[in-house]
């Protein structure tokens, strides 16, 4: 990128000092440059010159990756060497606060090493700790739980992959706000409890787990929790059907994905709920998911009414925005019930982003529209969006017609269909006809802005 420097024929020491422009930069700038480098490169600069000797020790963020060097074979990476370097670097680090430490290491690392790294990081007041342990011959690292028995600086903790969590007694992570558990393994339910109960400031919890591999019932009981995401990736060959218990009274955002073939899922009502997204759930023997979401302002339901209990009555009294996925079986029935149950609904969105071609045969069951027009359609619904509208399907056409006909407060409707090639004139014509039909049933064509799009 840059031209090779052409000067420098036998430059004397004095010349070298004059030529050295980079060292004139203030510390903060040099640190900024070092921050853009991978950590091991940054540490290597300490042998450059006196000026650079201890610059790297003020770096706020450190990342060590034992897998980084792609040149060497698996067998040649020496975990001892890596441990050594990590440990030494950590103990030499001098910045007032260690903002973030990211360690990526093999599952076969001695847990005493891991323990010493963590202990050193805690002694340096680390705020964000990321431990990513990758599998090596099926070995995993057990985190020394005693280290978590008291810490008041850690704010973000991310644990990934080949890590085993065993907490025989309650931890104390006073300042922890965000916790990410990505495919880590809990030894027992007690460990789960001891971990969650020991985080009094926990606001964000993100769990990505194989539901049928470690504990039978995964209980999340965190009074301070505001954001919860659970993704269950059921693996083949697991044992038993897991369960979930969620008790988070302060919860504002909930995201559940992948609860399939689960024994039970029980959620305590969250009265402060702002938004909930429930996707890909099926075969849950005992659940109360939708009932627990009645305080929500926004709901995204990518599920079929055949898989969950859909409560009736005007219970979604705060619901303002609803999104349903039209790929689900009998989604239109879910729509009917939700329209009836959500008196204040203002925004309705129907999506099939992937434009599935294999939707259920429309003739199997006919859609039952609500007996009388739901309150929300009469008084509140202002925005209607349909992405992936399949104009050739009777059931979809019925729904679209119904909404446009009955939504008296509708201000904007956007309908987006699949792209048709320019050559397919007949098809284009048919679509245009159908869309015109829709436009004609609008309750109040003057105040409603109808938009057709093609993706």
């Amino acid at each position: 990128m840059e031209q090779k420097l052409t000067d420098g024929l036998g430059s004397s020491n004095r010349d070298a000092v004059n030529e050295d422009r980079i060292s004139e930069l203030p510390d903060a700038l040099l640190l900024q440059i070092l921050s853009s480098l991978p950590t091991d490169n940054a540490i290597a600069t300490s042998v450059l010159s006196k000026r650079w000797r201890s610059l790297w020790t003020m770096l706020p963020k450190l990342k060590f990756d034992s897998d980084f060097n792609p040149v060497f074979d698996d067998d040649n990476i020496d975990p001892c060497m890596f441990s050594e370097n990590v440990y030494k670097s950590l103990s030499l680090h001098k910045a007032p606060v260690l903002e973030s430490l990211h360690l990526k290491f093999e599952g076969r690392t001695d847990c005493l090493d891991v323990g010493i790294w963590i202990a050193t990081a805690f002694a340096r007041g680390v705020r964000k700790l990321v431990l990513d342990s990758f599998y090596h011959e099926e070995q995993i690292v057990t985190l020394p739980s005693v280290l978590f028995s008291y810490n008041d600086t850690l704010e973000i903790l991310k644990l990934k992959n080949a890590i085993d969590l065993d907490f025989p007694s309650r931890v104390c992570l006073k300042s922890l706000r965000k916790l990410y558990l990505d495919q880590v393994h809990f030894k027992d339910e007690e460990s789960v409890c001891n971990l969650f109960c020991g985080c009094p400031s926990l606001e964000d919890l993100f769990v990505h787990r194989y539901g049928n591999v470690d504990v039978a019932t995964f209980t999340i009981a965190v009074p301070s929790l505001q954001r919860l995401t659970i993704e269950d990736l059921r693996s083949e060959g697991g044992y038993g059907n897991g369960s979930y218990v969620i008790n988070a009274p302060a919860l504002k955002y909930l995201n559940i994905d992948g609860f399939n073939d689960i024994e039970s899922c029980l959620i305590e009502k969250a009265l402060e709920l702002v938004e909930a997204k429930i996707s890909n759930v099926s075969d849950i023997t005992n659940e109360n998911i939708l009932e627990s979401l009645t305080s929500a302002k926004r709901l995204i339901l990518h599920l079929s009414p055949l898989e969950v209990k859909v409560p009736t009555g005007k219970i979604f009294h705060r619901l303002v925005c609803l999104e349903l996925r039209t790929y689900e079986r009998e989604w239109w029935n879910l729509l009917s019930i939700m329209l009836d149950s959500s008196p204040k609904l203002q925004i309705l969105k129907l999506t099939d982003v992937y434009l599935h071609n294999d939707k259920q045969n429309p003739d199997v069951r006919k859609w039952n529209p609500p007996k009388c027009a739901p309150e929300c359609l009469l008084f509140h619904l202002e925005t209607f969006v349909w992405i992936g509208y399949e104009w050739q399907r009777g059931d979809e056409k019925e729904v679209a017609t119904y909404i446009l006909e009955n939504a008296r407060q509708l201000k904007k409707a956007t309908i987006s269909t699949k792209r048709i090639e320019r050559e397919m004139l007949e098809k284009l014509e048919k679509r245009r006809e159908m869309l015109n039909e829709l436009a004609s049933v609008l309750w109040d064509p003057n105040s409603c802005h109808l938009v057709f799009e093609s993706t």
Partner: protein
């Protein structure tokens, strides 16, 4: 017309200019919207009201020489125009920073003094890219850095001047572990005691944290001092001898792997150990004798437990040691994802 008249009239179609003076004394006028793109200039105009005429030109910081300033103005001129797509900006930036490293450094410096953050970010990233992946010799050559570290300093980049007693403790723990590992390697033929220590790694580290149940009974104020008990584990004589062996083997390792990362050798412990030893004794004097006796016992205990663990981890290099350490001896069936 005089400049004064121009300034007074300022019809809508005429641009307004800002007067700026570079370090070498030369004064120039720059379109207002271009100059105001630099926060430092913006501040001068707004807070001090200067820059509106030749006599009241804004003095630019010394780090901004005329050549760099003209480059910066080009940058500002391009970037301040609204409606540029991200792609356009990116392409411009990539071409813009193609210059020799010396000018790049000057540019970074100048942009920094004008507080022009986007340009500072751009140039520092470019400098980082130049440094990345190169050996120290290469870097020194590119930037003309003086090679003013002694050979010793290069080998032992930094002395650990950490005041934190916990860090020093961990230093020792780590050093001891390494030492013992090496010793065991050499004595591999010797029969090892079959006795299995039931206690877990957790207990070991509880000493570090001072959370061990026996130790916790002491008053809370002594928490930090508790951690010093480990310092008595080994006599400094032993360490000296073993450390020098360690240094050699470490250096060997480095040569084999050929990595450009400097080896942070164990030798530094040589320097810190004897010093730290005496300091700690001073501090230990504050603990009353009864407690000290108890601490001594704990230390003996601790050393023994450390030994057992390392023995096991050595003998079973590739087996999942971690399961058995927890004492229940069961291996877990892993049905998780493959690596």
């Amino acid at each position: 017309m005089s400049e004064f008249d121009l300034a007074v009239m300022k019809p809508e179609t005429m641009k307004s200019y800002i007067w700026l003076q570079t370090a070498d004394g030369s004064i120039q006028q720059v379109e207002q919207e271009v100059a105001m793109f630099c926060p430092m200039i913006c501040q001068e105009v707004i807070q001090k009201g200067v820059g509106s005429s030749k006599n009241h030109a804004i003095s630019l910081p010394q780090r901004v020489n005329p050549a760099m300033f003209s480059l910066i103005l080009d940058y500002c001129r391009f970037h301040q125009l609204p409606g540029r797509s991200n792609k356009e900006l990116k392409t411009y930036d990539e071409r813009f920073i193609r210059m020799d490293t010396k000018r790049l450094c000057e540019l970074t410096s100048a942009a920094d003094s004008l507080q022009l953050k986007p340009l500072v970010d751009l140039t520092s990233r470019a400098l980082a890219r130049i440094i990345e992946g190169k050996t120290p010799e290469e870097i020194r050559e590119i930037f003309h850095l003086p090679d003013d570290l002694t050979e010793e300093e290069k080998l032992e980049p930094l002395k650990n001047t950490m005041d934190d007693p916990r860090i020093r403790l961990l230093n020792r723990l780590y050093a001891k572990k390494r030492k013992e590992l090496k010793e065991r390697e050499r004595l591999k033929d010797v029969e090892v005691e079959e006795h299995v220590d039931e206690r877990s790694v957790d207990d070991l580290l509880s000493f570090i944290n001072g959370r061990d149940p026996k130790v916790v009974k002491m008053s809370k104020g002594k928490k930090k001092k508790k951690k010093k008990k480990d310092l008595k584990i080994v006599s400094s004589n032993d360490i000296h001898e073993k450390e020098s062996h360690d240094l050699h083997s470490k250096q060997q390792c480095v040569e084999e792997t050929g990595s450009s990362v400097p080896n942070l050798p164990s030798a530094e412990d040589d320097n810190s150990m004897p010093k730290a030893g005496s300091e700690d004794e001073d501090i230990d004097d504050e603990i009353d004798p009864a407690m000290r006796e108890m601490l001594d016992r704990e230390v003996e205990d601790f050393a023994q437990r450390l030994n057992s663990n390392w023995v096991r981890s050595l003998g079973q290099e590739r087996r999942p040691v971690h399961f058995s350490i927890n004492g229940n001896g069961t291996t877990r069936r892993r049905t998780g994802p493959s690596p």
